[in-house]
Symmetry: C2
Subunit: 223 residues, 2 copies
């Protein structure tokens, strides 16, 4: 098992988060490090999806992971077991990360030589959508058991992400989840969004997700 650090991050003292996010993004671009901000409700499957993503891409990219949580280190422990470089961030009760907090996390992790860093944001559909972390792209996971009404209740989150993974698709027969209805609601909020059906449990859709990431990382380095 790999070792991992735990970092107690402080709330940024600067007010201008958007400016700081742009600055961080520029620096990451210069370093050819692609940062993905991954958001979802608690328990939608962020960590399991990260594990599958690492498995799919670890032979082509150097990957690092920032695990943000109010408390505990269970996710960093899980990721460290794959041999991936990871750091656990504790947000001190805060339900999101801003650009300053993300920068602290990246410094704590050490990004030299990393092509691709995944930030697992705090499990929450409200606050994380309001703060630009400086990531190259924003992704969200909606899991089937949460229901198809979530775009109606958390429109900002669905509006701000570049890609939506609909996870736990293997359990769709167990739940009332109307895929056509949810897709219509999402596309209305965000016509450009890419929607990929996955099961982090069975591996379904991970190929398509890995292809999306390969393309985005390539574009990031080419621009």
């Amino acid at each position: 098992m790999e070792q991992y650090k735990i970092l107690e991050i402080k709330k940024s003292v600067f007010e201008d988060n958007d400016r700081k996010a742009d600055l961080l993004r520029e620096e990451l671009k210069k370093d050819k490090t692609f940062l993905l901000n991954l958001m979802s409700s608690p328990g939608a499957g962020k960590t399991k999806t990260i594990i599958q993503t690492i498995e799919a891409l670890k032979n082509e990219m150097n990957i690092g992971v920032l695990e943000a949580d109010i408390d505990s280190e269970v996710d960093a422990y899980t990721v460290a077991n794959t041999g991936t470089k990871v750091i656990q961030l504790h947000t001190g009760g805060m339900c999101h990360l801003d650009a300053g907090m993300t920068r602290q996390g990246l410094l704590g992790l050490g990004t030299e030589g990393l092509d691709f860093v995944i930030l697992e944001n705090v499990g929450n559909l409200v606050c994380p959508a309001e703060f630009d972390t400086g990531a190259a792209k924003n992704a969200m996971i909606l899991s089937v058991p949460e229901g198809d009404d979530k775009p109606l209740k958390y429109p900002l989150m669905f509006s701000t992400v570049d890609v939506l993974l609909i996870n736990k698709i293997d359990a769709i027969e167990y739940f009332d989840f109307n895929y056509e209805a949810v897709k219509e609601r999402i596309k209305k909020l965000n016509p450009e969004i890419e929607v990929i059906l996955i099961s982090a449990k069975t591996g379904r859709g991970i190929d398509q997700w890995a292809d999306w990431l390969r393309r985005e990382v390539k574009n990031w380095n080419a621009q």
Copy 2:
């Protein structure tokens, strides 16, 4: 279908939320209105559980419901279809309700003659745990698909509630959910907590939940 109002609530200007919560609680006690604050992640089944609760208790109590969400009115619509008095609260992007916001909601609903009011808080495991709403009791729903590690990640929420409903228990065979492990984690944080297994879909455990509510409402009116 019953009519329902939509209220855009404002953030409280008073700082002393605890004092305001105590004051609201005293007033509700005088009026013999039992207020339950119901919290969970998005999609854990709060609204479906409220529908089952209404069905179980509507012949013995006058019930009202406050539905809090960032946006949409889908939950108020669902509850109104049962013939129950309901109001939709929009929190203006905020991920919780405080005591002042709850008071605005109760005034908007009109509590005269109501024995039991359920406040469906915003779907979130972080912010709602930090604000006393003035409720008589606090309840939380953890759904099986969210996983058994949630007490480790959101300890404050599990520490502050009086009762935990573990929902979607009908789907337990589909998910890795260790009930003994989760129970041990919860009891360590909160030894006094009552844990009830339910399925808002099949109705399992709703009798036990209704009994808990009957007892608490009785105690509230007797003190």
